[in-house]
């Protein structure tokens, strides 16, 4: 499902910072790693310095299952700028990971019209540059 990684990837790339580097490093290794709070036990995403649930600083990077379900989605009929134009129509979804947090992502599919809220999905890595791998999701039929 992965697009071929080339030096000519022109879509927006994350400006990785010290607070987010462990997430992107793990994604490059095809692992989904997000912060979990040792104090309240909850996961969160995107990664923060303090737990957004209980505000504890006692966090640890934790690998999660990469499985979840679609909480909401939209089908872009108009692109977010010219670089996305060849992809129209494409799906942007908010998924709820089985561990709790929500993530914005793309759903990789051959037929955008079949996507529904509540669909089970699993992570599908897309290495777009040597440095950046995006954690997209696809239907989980298992």
């Amino acid at each position: 499902m992965s697009e071929t990684a080339t030096a000519t990837y022109e879509k927006p790339l994350p400006v990785i910072d010290p607070g987010t580097k462990p997430f992107w490093d793990a994604a490059r290794d095809q692992r989904l790693v997000i912060p979990k709070c040792r104090s309240c036990g909850k996961y969160h995403f995107y990664p923060r310095e303090l737990c957004p649930h209980c505000h504890s600083a006692d966090l640890e990077w934790t690998e999660v299952s990469g499985k979840g379900e679609i909480y909401s989605y939209t089908i872009a009929r108009k692109p977010a700028g010219p670089v996305f134009a060849p992809d129209v129509p494409y799906v942007i979804a908010m998924i709820t990971l089985d561990e709790g947090p929500r993530m914005l992502t793309n759903i990789v599919t051959d037929d955008v019209e079949t996507i529904r809220i509540g669909d089970r999905v699993k992570v599908s890595y897309d290495q777009v540059t040597p440095e950046v791998t995006l954690a997209k999701f696809t239907a989980d039929k298992t």
């Binding site: 995107y46 989605y73 009929r77 914005l104």
Partner: protein
């Protein structure tokens, strides 16, 4: 006697086909709106000692210090400044902050100003938000913003509550009817629910006619003490209550996509301060960046129960002649939307409460509720105004 803050002047600039008549830079159009509002109040620019500004102009550049730049341009030396920017609801928050500053004796005359020349300059660049900090987890997916975030909310609201696209279209149709009564409105030709349903799909389930316009615009509001208003012979409008809140900017961090938490918080505070009931509100001006914004706002403000917004707006209830006058100038959907629309909600509410609204006047309007929404359903600012 305690100082009481009131609104004494409102102003805007004329538009033609969504562009400022006669053209002008973003500083020029703000100066014109400020002068119009001060003339309306009967107060001189030199008496302004509080300046409240929010915008997306001159950035990077002099817009980074917006009140400092605009104060310089207007030739005033404010002793109170507020550049709170929580998105399009910033101006509702500015009314609250100005009221607090005036009542605390921190300033005597507060000027709230907004302007944008985005249509004339073709400078709308929200899609170009750099992928730094929080946006590194949003931009990479190609979400067309802000419409994509609102589309995610609409899809979830439809899923949870059975809200239909036709119900969303009711809002666009009713708002266009109000616009047809406003000679300043950019889009005045009537539309039907079928027209909305058949309009270009943008980001499912939102279509072109579910979306606000992209226009120029400038507006201003002047506030002072009730005592000063009387001395100047101003037509004062009372600020009865206010509240503000924000919950997220990244759409992925919105606490509940089907629920406008910020508006629930800000309106609860405003109603408690005002000590009025929902039944006493004669006219509502609420931010309509998209049709879904209106539907979720009406639920959050408590005019209907959660999930019942679709039913509430059905059968053109919010149109002229309906029993719930809403967005009486034609709103961001049909009047104008220069990027941060919240100032125009205040301008229209004051005109309604003064009986100055011409063909679109809501007969006998005494109490108005103004609610701004900013960001991606991120922030809320509620103001309750009355003419008694």
């Amino acid at each position: 006697m305690a100082r009481e803050a009131v609104i004494v002047g409102v102003g805007d600039v004329p538009l033609k086909d969504g562009r400022v008549v006669g053209g002008g830079s973003v500083l020029q159009v703000q100066a014109r709106a400020a002068k119009a509002a001060l003339d309306d109040a009967g107060i001189a620019m030199r008496d302004v000692d509080g300046l409240l500004v929010a915008g997306m102009w001159g950035n990077p550049g002099p817009g980074l210090l917006a009140s400092v730049t605009l104060g310089e341009y207007l030739g005033i030396f404010p002793r109170f400044a507020d550049t709170t920017n929580i998105g399009g609801s910033a101006f509702e928050a500015h009314v609250a902050h100005a009221a607090m500053a005036i009542e605390a004796g921190y300033c005597d005359v507060a000027l709230i100003v907004y302007g944008s020349t985005q249509k004339s300059e073709r400078s709308r660049t929200l899609g170009g938000r750099p992928s730094v900090l929080t946006m590194q987890f949003e931009n990479v997916w190609g979400i067309p913003q802000p419409v994509g975030g609102y589309a995610l909310a609409a899809m979830r609201h439809m899923h949870e509550h059975g809200t239909t696209q036709e119900q969303l279209a009711e809002i666009a149709v009713a708002t266009r009817k109000w616009a047809s009564l406003n000679p300043e409105a950019t889009m005045r030709d009537p539309i039907t629910i079928d027209d909305v349903m058949a309009s270009t799909r943008i980001s499912d389930p939102l279509k072109l006619l579910d979306c606000c316009l992209v226009t120029d615009g400038a507006g201003a509001v002047v506030m002072t003490t009730a005592e000063n208003a009387k001395a100047h012979g101003s037509r004062a409008i009372n600020v009865r209550g206010y509240g503000e809140a924000h919950t997220h900017w990244s759409i992925g961090a919105m606490p509940d996509l089907a629920r406008l938490t910020a508006a629930e918080m800000s309106s609860k505070a405003a109603f408690e301060m005002a000590g009025v009931s929902h039944d006493s509100i004669d006219v509502v001006e609420c931010y309509d960046s998209f049709t879904i914004t209106v539907l979720m706002t009406l639920e959050a403000l408590g005019f209907c129960k959660r999930g019942e917004g679709g039913q509430f707006v059905s059968n053109q209830r919010t149109a002229p002649g309906g029993d719930f006058p809403l967005n009486t100038n034609g709103g961001g959907l049909s009047y104008c939307h220069p990027g941060m629309y919240g100032i125009f909600l205040l301008v229209e509410a004051v005109r309604q409460l003064r009986g100055d609204a011409g063909d679109r006047q809501v007969a006998g309007a005494k109490t108005a509720l103004v609610h701004g929404t900013g960001g991606t359903l991120s922030s809320g600012g509620t103001v309750i105004l009355s003419n008694h």
